[in-house]
């Protein structure tokens, strides 16, 4: 086999034959992006290509005037010496796996993906390939997601219980993807729903594409009065514990994340309640997706890389390798800073400082 179609460089994943980067973490000439989360879509690149349903979101996450092109799922485009197409990753609206083909050899960059049901985006599609690049954020068997409908029922029961006790329900979730998914599970809400500004502006692209969400209102001072003691407020996790919360009176707080399956993060976060909801594949989801691609070689990145590599090699007989990257997956905090990033306005966690600036500053 000739040289690897996709390699890692200081700037991120690089496809030399096509002359483009995939989800680069520094500005490059040509960026192919899998989805609009801030750790995958960064501002400053010359031009962006992403799956058509995600164009609007990617535009919101890049610099003003950025050139963002869209390509329908499944449609093929020749870039340099390769053929590129996007296929649903089931992660968030517009999220895609990137299929790259050269002379009959097929690579698929999975990006972030999940295999479970999600009414707010197209379902994950297994794409046959020779080499599959898989994330491993939750790549350990302790991560097994509960039935989303059961969790939606828990959220509703929590909300109703709070309302019965005259408390406002403050549900924290990442502004892009998770929040909309939670909303979609509450189509027949038992009370009014207010949303934090960070996600209010991210609801438009969903509704524009016909994704059904319950009625929501921006959590202004007036709306806060209306929801106080009975309504649901959805906000990014960084809003928890800030003065912004005060306008809702007595609140019960909850956090929705895959990490909530673990007691440590549940306790550390200081929320009254944790709901296990993730936009990443759990252990079985990862194994199922990898198997469905039929790939004989799997490159693992972002998360619990070593255990997944060893399991795939020893138990599944695949050629599995670590795809080294400077960026090591998502802790239960990075996910937040990466996603809330620049979008949260005044209550956002200050994610400046060394954690974010250094990668850009060094060269």
């Amino acid at each position: 086999m000739s040289r690897d179609l996709v390699t890692t460089t200081e700037d991120g994943l690089w496809c030399e034959a096509g002359g483009f980067h995939i989800d680069p973490w520094r500005p490059v000439d040509r960026a192919v992006v899998t989805h609009a989360h801030a750790d995958h879509t960064r501002p400053g690149s010359g031009r962006y290509l992403t799956a058509a349903p995600g164009v609007e979101l990617v535009r919101l996450r890049t610099h003003a005037g950025a050139v963002v092109d869209g390509l329908e799922y499944g449609e093929r485009l020749t870039i340099g010496g390769v053929q590129v197409s996007f296929h649903p990753a089931g992660h968030i609206l517009g999220s895609a796996q990137v299929r790259i083909e050269r002379a009959g050899e097929v690579w698929v960059v999975g990006g972030d993906y999940k295999t479970g049901a999600d009414p707010t985006c197209a379902a994950f599609e297994a794409v046959p390939c020779d080499v599959f690049i898989s994330e491993s954020t939750f790549g350990l068997p302790v991560f097994q997601w509960p039935d989303p409908e059961k969790v939606a029922a828990e959220v509703r029961a929590w909300w109703e219980g709070n309302a019965a006790n005259g408390r406002t329900s403050l549900l924290c979730a990442y502004a892009l993807g998770k929040s909309q998914r939670l909303l979609a599970g509450l189509l027949d809400p038992p009370g009014p729903i207010a949303v934090h500004g960070a996600l209010d502006r991210l609801l438009g692209p969903y509704r524009d594409q016909g994704i059904e969400l319950p009625p929501t209102e921006y959590a202004s001072v007036e709306v806060a009065k209306e929801v106080r003691g009975r309504g649901l407020v959805i906000a990014p996790p960084s809003a928890n514990g800030t003065p912004w919360m005060r306008k809702f009176g007595d609140v019960s707080t909850a956090f929705a994340s895959g990490w909530m399956t673990l007691r440590g993060p549940r306790r550390r976060r200081g929320f009254d309640q944790g709901f296990t909801v993730s936009d990443h594949a759990d252990w079985r989801g990862l194994l199922g997706a990898i198997e469905a691609t039929g790939a004989s070689r799997v490159l693992v990145t972002h998360g619990y890389v070593d255990p997944l590599v060893r399991y795939l090699s020893e138990e599944r007989g695949l050629r599995a390798e670590r795809l080294d990257s400077r960026f090591e997956g998502e802790g239960d905090g990075t996910e937040e800073s990466a996603v809330s990033g620049e979008a949260d306005g005044p209550v956002a966690e200050p994610v400046t400082g060394p954690a974010r600036e250094a990668p850009e500053g060094r060269s």
Partner: protein, 530 residues
């Protein structure tokens, strides 16, 4: 079992004291005596015993979940808690069977487990897994590994129990102190209107708060009796009838580690209770806590250890004399009696914490500045007219510790944490400069806010330059100020020294790595005991 698990979940999930207390009261009011006794026993953190070998537990979990054993170990490594890891790995079997009540559950499946052969243990554990959901399995594992803990302070449990029994909190704390078995009868005693229970029970310890930044806020210095604050094990010596026992603050009997002291105190009159500090003691000064540690948790102490680590009890306070409870007397009066008693007893292993003279905060501060030379931690301040309280009420007892040493150090390695912090990089190795190289001097875990921890975690993930097993080498960019209590020479550390109780004081975002301290500066601190 199911109800206790519900209580556990509530206590575990909320940080609000009022909600915890309400949940405790609600539980205890509606629970049969035998179950309630066990619940109180567990919530008060009384030590359980390991009922099963955890290696076997891991093997059964691998078998039941169809995973290779190494993956069970990897999962444990990531989660940081074996009980939780196995609870998550073992598949739910959709049980509908309501597990028995707490006391019966513990009797059959926890205490009963210990006496079985491995094959029978396996059968019982597998059967129990099938009967429980993931949350209950977690609790079960905690119980059989002897590691049950819950985030609720003993004082809060005592308050809830006091409410249920209709007595005041200090009375309940006294009833809870000492030995009692988790039985229905013990529960009836706790709830009863008259006194009973262990004749050797200690009094609840009186604990001090840290002095505010400006000690003058406490009022006039002359209103306080100052004593040296020793760095050992706080203990209560109870001499009643023909017996002498030493209780630790955690409610453990520690007689085994200190036989000479127990023997010595036999010279006191029955009906005497002394509050004090157990110390490793050579000549006229303490030997350092690491020596004392060799005495802790021992059933007996051999001749060699007795000679190498002599011990004594440094008396702080007199709580009972001639069988009479003295706690309501003012500090000055208790002190007068304590001095007379210690002097009259003339026991070689019973010392008395010296009173430090000083009529102003300035004078006391001067005395405090000599703490390190004396081998003490600082000063204890006791309001002269105050009674001996129960627990940690604010106002009468204060500890005024010496200021820690500090250094500016650079983050060089990071590792994932355990337990609460299992998913984040929270264990840091910190270094100082030595001839242009960074040499590790300390590992530190605590001191940052949760928010800062998440930011450091994000930094680590983006700046990894190398990996050694679980250790990540990161770009040397972040500077922290660490505080620590002392420096000891150490051949085991590359720097040739080790720091005592290092923790992160703050993140120096204003400093660059070049501004960090040097190894020479650390050596200079070691040479300077002040």
């Amino acid at each position: 079992m199911r109800r206790f698990h519900g209580l556990y979940r509530t206590l575990d999930a909320t940080t609000r004291t009022s909600r915890k207390e309400a949940a405790l009261v609600e539980y205890f009011e509606a629970t049969p005596p035998a179950d309630a006794a066990w619940a109180a026993h567990l919530l008060l953190g009384r030590r359980g015993r390991r009922a099963v070998n955890t290696r076997l537990l891991r093997e059964w979990a691998a078998e039941k979940s169809g995973l290779p054993l190494w993956l069970v170990e990897e999962s444990y490594d990531a989660v940081g808690d074996l009980a939780e890891t196995i609870a998550l790995l073992v598949p739910d079997q959709g049980s509908v069977r309501e597990p028995e009540g707490l006391a019966e559950f513990i009797d059959r499946r926890v205490l009963g487990l210990a006496g079985l052969e491995a094959a029978a243990q396996r059968e019982l554990v597998l059967e129990t897994w099938a009967d429980l959901d993931a949350g209950e399995r977690f609790l079960f594992h905690k119980l059989i590994s002897g590691g049950f803990r819950v985030g609720v302070a003993g004082g809060l449990v005592a308050r809830a129990l006091a409410k249920v029994a209709g007595v005041d909190r200090a009375t309940m704390m006294h009833r809870l102190a000492g030995r009692w078995d988790p039985t229905a009868a013990a529960w009836e005693d706790l709830m009863s209107e008259d006194e009973g229970g262990d004749p050797l029970r200690p009094y609840p310890f009186f604990l001090a708060h840290a002095v505010p930044a400006e000690p003058a806020e406490l009022g006039d210095a002359v209103d306080f009796q100052a004593e040296w604050k020793w760095d050992g094990i706080r203990a209560q010596a109870v001499r009643r009838g023909s017996e002498t026992v030493l209780w630790s603050r955690g409610g453990d009997l520690v007689n085994g580690g200190f036989p000479e002291i127990v023997k010595d105190l036999g010279g006191l009159a029955p009906g005497t209770v002394i509050d004090g500090e157990l110390l490793a003691w050579a000549g006229d000064r303490p030997m350092g806590f690491h020596e004392l540690q060799r005495r802790i948790n021992r059933k007996s102490v051999g001749k060699k250890l007795r000679e190498e680590v002599p011990v004594r009890l440094m008396a702080y306070d007199l709580l009972e004399e001639g069988g009479a409870d003295l706690r309501a007397l003012p500090t000055t009066e208790r002190r007068r009696r304590l001095e007379a008693l210690v002097r009259a007893a003339g026991l070689p292993r019973l010392g008395i914490a010296e009173v430090v003279e000083g009529d102003s905060w300035e004078e006391l501060a001067r005395a405090r500045s000599t703490s390190r030379q004396r081998g003490v931690e600082g000063l204890m301040l006791k309001r002269r007219d105050a009674p001996y309280g129960a627990g940690r009420p604010r106002g009468d007892w204060w500890k005024w510790k010496v200021d820690p040493f500090t250094l500016d150090v650079v983050l060089v390695y990071a590792q994932r944490g355990h337990g609460r912090r299992a998913s984040l990089y929270t264990d840091y190795t910190l270094a100082v400069w030595d001839n242009g190289e960074l040499v590790p001097v300390a590992k530190a875990y605590s001191g940052l806010t949760d928010r800062e921890i998440r930011r450091v975690d994000a930094f680590v993930r983006r700046h990894i330059t190398d990996r050694f097993g679980p250790v990540r080498v990161v770009e040397p960019e972040l500077v922290f100020e660490i505080a620590f209590e002392g420096i000891q020479p150490s051949a085991r550390h590359k720097a040739g020294l080790s720091l005592r109780f290092p923790r992160i004081a703050r993140w120096r975002e204003d400093k660059s790595p070049a501004d960090a301290d040097s190894l020479d500066a650390v050596r200079a601190l070691m040479g300077d005991p002040s």
